[in-house]
């Protein structure tokens, strides 16, 4: 083989592999759309499931996932941002920050089912929250935290050092500098990174399996100590636990379509936010 032929061959190989990935995504999306769209109607989106999930809709699961995500945001955003601000702005880089960073990386690598069991042990049993929105949100928050910290750190580091120096040289304190001349430019990046992390949490099943999700619960939750249905778990139940698989197949696809649409639209919001703020703040 001449080197020229080899060059061509490598090019087409790489090209083919790249398009193959697009093909996989396209197939998944097409499959879900094709089979899921017929199941989508007003009743499906706004009513509770009936006769063990074989009929009716998925409204409680949509609401449940919404609450779980909301709870995750409330817990994880302040914690993650505060940690990132401490690590990038305040902490003296050394052994201690290395240990914190190692812990964050390790946390990011923990399998989601382990988070689920951890949440069961700590929040559900030890802290006596029971299987609830609170316990589920806290468990999802633990899982999302490393993503938010890393995204926030990146956003903070993207703000040039000379902006901090300029503010300090005017007599601003460290916190005034961060608050007035670093955070306004990094919040968009922090948010978009965080949204992507949280939208992943929205689709997780394992962490909420023992901590929040109910098999079948046609009522809506009244407090954060109530159990909820959730879209990913409902999908799991329909796909594996239902006695009549073929009967509920359209409902499985419908649920999958709703879940994917929700997550994709959240991601789209993040992307638009990023584009918008990139135009607003440039330096």
């Amino acid at each position: 083989m001449t080197s020229k032929v080899k060059d061509r061959f490598i090019f087409w190989l790489m090209c083919g592999i790249s398009y193959f990935i697009v093909l996989i995504v396209a197939y998944i999306v097409f499959d879900i759309l094709y089979n899921g769209l017929p199941a989508i109607n007003w009743e499906f989106l706004t009513t509770a499931p009936r006769s063990g999930g074989a009929e009716g809709g998925i409204f409680p699961a949509i609401v449940g996932t919404f609450y779980l995500v909301l709870g995750t945001i409330v817990v994880t955003l302040p914690l993650g941002m505060a940690t990132a601000i401490y690590l990038t702005e305040y902490a003296k880089q050394g052994k201690f920050t290395k240990i914190i960073r190692l812990a964050i990386v390790t946390l990011a690598g923990v399998p989601s089912i382990v988070f689920g069991l951890f949440g069961l042990g700590l929040f559900v049993i030890f802290l006596k929250f029971g299987a609830s929105i609170l316990a589920g949100s806290l468990t999802l928050a633990c899982m999302t935290l490393p993503i938010i910290i890393v995204a926030s750190e990146e956003a903070l580091r993207a703000v040039p050092k000379h902006l901090r120096e300029g503010s300090l040289a005017l007599g601003a304190t460290k916190w005034q500098t961060i608050y007035k001349n670093v955070l306004p430019y990094s919040i968009p990046g922090m948010l978009t990174g965080s949204i992507l992390g949280i939208s992943r949490a929205a689709g997780e099943t394992a962490p909420i399996l023992f901590t929040a999700a109910a098999f079948f619960l046609p009522e809506l939750p009244r407090s954060i100590f109530d159990q909820v249905m959730a879209l990913p778990y409902h999908l799991y139940v329909l796909a594996t636990q239902h006695p009549d698989m073929e009967l509920v197949r359209p409902l499985q696809y419908g649920t999958a379509l709703v879940l994917v649409t929700l997550i994709l639209s959240v991601n789209l919001v993040a992307i638009f936010l990023r584009i918008h703020f990139r135009r607003k703040y440039k330096w």
């Binding site: 120096e165 300029g166 040289a169 005017l170 601003a172 007035k180 430019y185 440039k282 330096w283």
Partner: protein
């Protein structure tokens, strides 16, 4: 260390006639500075007169910027730095335990080599400092912004677009904006770290004119790579080499009759 003061005749301005027995604004004695284990400044002592322009010259890495940054404690923000010696400003040791760094930096303004306008409006850039000191009154802010921009010679160019982003200004305008921003907190000393090194000759000339206009009202200390610039704008010049202060005296004498061979070699372009 300072020999006889010769008033710089480059500026035909009323304020050129200054008290020849000018008091020392800054007085540094036996200053050593370390980045970790590496010593960057060696036993520096010098007195900087009030209301005049003092230039620091020397080749890259000679410590002139590091020294400049010890005067408003900007080196504090770098991890693992260490300082010995005394820096007195108006007789007060700025490294003393009772010194308020925030108050010090209000008194000692700084302009950086790379102009660093904040990605905010022109107005918000200038009002940044006053707002930090708690001024909220709109009229008062308007007045400070206008005064500072006039003082920095930028008012006529920007008065119609104060709410536009400062990032869209030209390089020279940005640097004058940074000077105006520093002036807005009413400093007594102005540190300038190669303020014109990134500018074209015309914008550089404007900055140099501005230094001449501010001279007298502010004690100005300027680090520069450009020896002609030091000769044009300064009353006193200090030559640094490898972390040492080699020679310090009135600018005219330094550039015409340097006492030390190293200084002569540098200003005649034999090294650096």
């Amino acid at each position: 260390m300072v020999d006889s003061v010769i008033v710089n005749t480059d500026f035909n301005k009323a304020n050129s006639v200054l008290d020849l027995n000018s008091v020392n604004k800054v007085s540094v004695s036996n200053l050593n500075f370390y980045y970790g284990a590496a010593q960057a400044l060696f036993d520096i002592s010098m007195d900087i007169p009030q209301g005049l322009v003092t230039a620091f010259i020397g080749p890259s890495g000679c410590g002139k910027s590091t020294f400049l940054r010890t005067l408003n404690r900007m080196n504090d923000i770098i991890d693992n730095t260490y300082i010995e010696g005394k820096v007195l400003i108006d007789g007060q040791d700025i490294y003393g335990s009772e010194t308020d760094v925030v108050a010090l930096r209000k008194k000692v303004g700084m302009v950086f080599q790379k102009s660093n306008p904040f990605p905010k409006s022109i107005f918000d850039n200038i009002a940044y400092g006053p707002r930090i000191y708690g001024i909220k009154n709109r009229d008062q802010l308007n007045e400070t912004v206008e005064k500072s921009l006039i003082r920095a010679g930028l008012w006529d160019e920007v008065k119609d677009r104060l709410n536009k982003s400062a990032i869209d200004l030209s390089g020279g305008q940005q640097q004058r904006l940074c000077i105006a921003r520093a002036l807005a907190v009413d400093p007594e000393i102005l540190l300038m770290d190669e303020p014109a090194s990134a500018l074209d000759p015309k914008a550089t000339a404007r900055i140099e004119d501005l230094i001449g206009e501010l001279r007298g009202d502010y004690t100005i200390i300027i680090v520069t790579h450009n020896m002609q610039q030091a000769a044009r704008v300064s009353d006193f010049t200090a030559f640094f080499y490898e972390g040492n202060l080699v020679e310090f005296g009135d600018t005219k004498r330094i550039f015409t009759k340097p006492k030390i061979k190293q200084t002569e070699d540098y200003i005649t372009g034999r090294f650096g």
